[in-house]
């Protein structure tokens, strides 16, 4: 199974610079077109209907404003151990 | 402690060492270099910091850095070097970190010469840098007084978190006189709570002179001015001789005050009712005491080794109540007692 991930974008901190979208290998980050944040920027959005995000974190590394928190699904060692018993 | 024969610059340095200075940053310039030389030996042997910097600009910014950590720190220089340090003075004053600066003044303007002068009175007493502030300025007139005031300078700097000058001139810096040094003070081990010591178990401490909003910067200025008001009201220092029955009082500080004293004594011997008023703090200027003298004194004669700078403060203190005369020499020329005596006679003859 491919690693699955997701990101959370702090929309109020986002300045809409697009560098995260540029860095995303899955091209699943887009700038909002329907709303702006309190600073007047179009924030970045994760648009991932096919669950393609791998949690690679390249977007977060490229983000100049530390707006992105990255999560990745990893095998759960404890649960697997329990299941084995 | 035994009385020792010491050069003024060396005495200033050793007095600072004994007052617990933990770091010295400086740059060679005549006529203060012996101070730096003494520090280059003493500070490392005591395990304290000494750096001969690449310029006075760097020196004062090193002082600024060390002062941010709440350590006792100082530099020393002479007039052209003090000009270069003005940037740092301003940042230090706004950031409210304590430090001591020795200025062994020389003839100016420009490169001028290396002879004794008091031509930088305006420079040190007005603001010593851009912005609205005054530094505390102490002016000794003997090697012993220089030693005593160095200790006071560090205490005042710490008490008010402020920039304190000790101003001498080339004559005081270079001359040898007997003086008694104070005992060695132990170094402080505690750092003040505002100091940069690492944000360990507390929020970060920040030291800055930047306030982008006008109301916020005005608040900083209000706080600074309130502090300066307290200093102005409580820290004025001066000394007087034979002023009780004086009709004419000679006003001079540092070397000029010392030479004037000889002339005043001569005038007394000649039967003239003359006294001496010697400011020890140039800022705050001892206006309270000088102003009180105008009750019975008929005129003031200001003697300076410049073209007339402190005379403006004397006139403010006199408040137009009595005439204020001036006698000065410039360019590193040190007046002899006889010429000040002649000026006294001239002023005295004008009295009603």
């Amino acid at each position: 199974m491919a690693a699955k991930g997701r990101i959370e974008i702090n929309e109020e901190r986002c300045k809409g610079c697009t560098l995260c979208a540029l860095a995303c290998p899955q091209t699943i980050i887009e700038m909002a077109t329907d709303r702006v944040n309190a600073k007047g920027y179009y924030p970045a959005l994760l648009v991932d209907p096919d669950v393609k995000c791998t949690g690679c974190a390249l977007c977060a590394v490229a983000c100049p404003d530390v707006c992105i928190t990255v999560y990745r699904q990893v095998p759960s060692k404890t649960r697997r151990a329990e299941a084995a018993v | 402690m035994p009385v020792e024969l010491m050069k003024g610059n060396t005495a200033l340095a050793e007095a600072a060492v004994r007052a617990g200075v933990e770091a010295f940053f400086g740059y060679p310039i005549t006529p203060q270099t012996e101070l730096l030389e003494h520090m280059s030996k003493r500070m490392p042997e005591l395990g304290r910091a000494f750096v001969q910097a690449e310029s006075e600009v760097a020196s004062i910014n090193m002082v600024y850095g060390a002062a941010c950590t709440g350590t006792r720190v100082m530099t020393s220089s002479s007039s052209p070097g003090i000009s270069l340090m003005q940037e740092g003075f301003s940042y230090i004053a706004c950031s409210e970190v304590p430090c001591v600066v020795v200025d062994v003044m020389r003839g100016g303007p420009g490169l001028g010469n290396i002879q004794p002068s008091q031509s930088d009175y305006f420079q040190v007493t007005r603001s010593a840098g851009h912005g609205d502030y005054h530094a505390i300025v102490l002016a000794p007139s003997s090697v012993q007084e220089a030693v005593d005031l160095m200790g006071d300078a560090f205490d005042l700097a710490d008490q008010y978190r402020h920039l304190v000058f000790v101003v001498a001139d080339g004559l005081l810096g270079q001359m040898m006189e007997p003086a008694e040094l104070p005992p060695m003070q132990p170094l402080r081990t505690e750092r003040p709570d505002w100091a940069l010591t690492g944000a360990n178990g507390r929020d970060p401490n920040i030291i800055t002179s930047l306030e982008l909003s006008a109301p916020a910067l005005e608040a900083v200025n209000d706080r600074l001015q309130a502090k300066l008001k307290v200093i102005r009201e409580t820290e004025q220092r001066s000394t007087e001789n034979m002023t009780k029955d004086a009709r004419l009082v000679v006003v001079g500080y540092g070397t000029a005050g010392r030479i004037a004293e000889t002339a005043v004594k001569q005038a007394r011997r000649e039967g003239m009712q003359v006294g001496l008023f010697r400011p020890i703090t140039l800022w705050p200027f001892p206006e309270q005491r000088l102003s009180a003298l105008t009750d019975h004194v008929e005129a003031l004669l200001v003697v300076e080794m410049n073209a007339g700078q402190m005379v403006e403060d004397v006139k403010l203190a006199a408040g137009g109540q009595i005439p204020v005369e001036f006698y000065g020499r410039t360019g590193g020329v040190v007046p002899v007692p006889e010429e000040i005596y002649d000026a006294i006679v001239e002023s005295y003859e004008k009295l009603a």
Binding site: L19, V66, P75, S76 | N61, Y64, T69, A199, I206, I207
Partner: protein, 262 residues
């Protein structure tokens, strides 16, 4: 047994503790933010946040002291290395770094940075080179490229009028007191990660008392270059990197083992 479904979610990327949780004033796409973040990540990884003192410059990063979650001071223009010297000499067990732009470090403060290195001052400098004065609105910097248009080099920087852009990493590498001098870039993720490793080496050099360390970071200024953030990154790669080659310019013998260790 189907252990494949037994998964849990793990945070793989979040704000480093050494970076304050506040919005910065930097323009959209400005790579100052990236430089701040990787410095903060290194401080976290080295576990030195609570004994670090940062010195901010005058320029776009003038408010850097608000962004690092460490003690900090704000220096006069160009004087950060002198101020850092004063701090380090009385706090030798603390980690002291300056964060400076190209106007601050390579113009008005070139004496202070060079002499900090000549003394082998045990501090670390993060030098952000974006080839322009950003804060004052896009004037020519000492690092502005020949032909680059700025508000004070209209028509492009002319070498006959203004000479040549200064290569600071090369200059600093020639100084005996320099322990580690490198130039990196922030124009893509790979380079950002490489830059972070260099910054870690620089701080490790300081922690081991080896002398002066500096990492020059090629950075962007979309606002004053008058291009989009994406175009700015492309310009760094196409125009800046050829003039300012990336690499290690000085690695003292004692620093080499530190590079292997990480």
């Amino acid at each position: 047994m189907t252990s494949a479904v037994m998964v849990e979610e793990k945070v793989v990327y979040e704000r480093p503790e050494s970076l304050a949780d506040v919005a910065t004033h930097y323009c959209p796409g400005c790579t100052h933010g990236i430089a701040h973040r990787i410095v903060a990540e290194v401080l976290d990884e080295l576990g030195v946040r609570d004994r670090t003192i940062g010195v901010s410059p005058v320029g776009c990063a003038v408010l850097a002291y608000k962004y690092f979650n460490t003690d900090g001071a704000e220096a006069a223009h160009g004087r950060a290395p002198a101020m850092a010297t004063g701090i380090k000499r009385v706090m030798p067990d603390h980690v002291v770094f300056t964060y400076q732009g190209d106007g601050d470090l390579a113009a008005i403060g070139i004496a202070e940075i060079i002499h900090a290195a000549t003394r082998g001052e045990n501090i670390t400098t993060i030098f952000v080179n974006n080839a322009i004065y950003g804060m004052t609105g896009g004037q020519m910097a000492p690092t502005t490229l020949i032909g680059q248009e700025t508000t004070s080099s209209p028509g492009g920087r002319s070498q006959t009028l203004t000479g040549f852009p200064v290569r600071m990493a090369e200059l600093m590498a020639g100084i005996t007191g320099s322990a580690y001098i490198a130039r990196r870039s922030l124009h893509n993720v790979k380079e950002i990660n490489t830059a972070k490793r260099a910054i870690k080496t620089a701080f490790l050099a300081q922690l081991n008392g080896l002398g002066f360390s500096m990492v020059e970071l090629l950075s962007t200024c979309p606002t004053n270059w008058k291009v989009s953030p994406a175009e700015a990154l492309a310009w760094v790669e196409s125009d800046m990197v050829p003039y300012y080659p990336l690499g290690d310019y000085k690695v003292a013998e004692e620093v080499k083992p530190l590079m292997k260790r990480r």
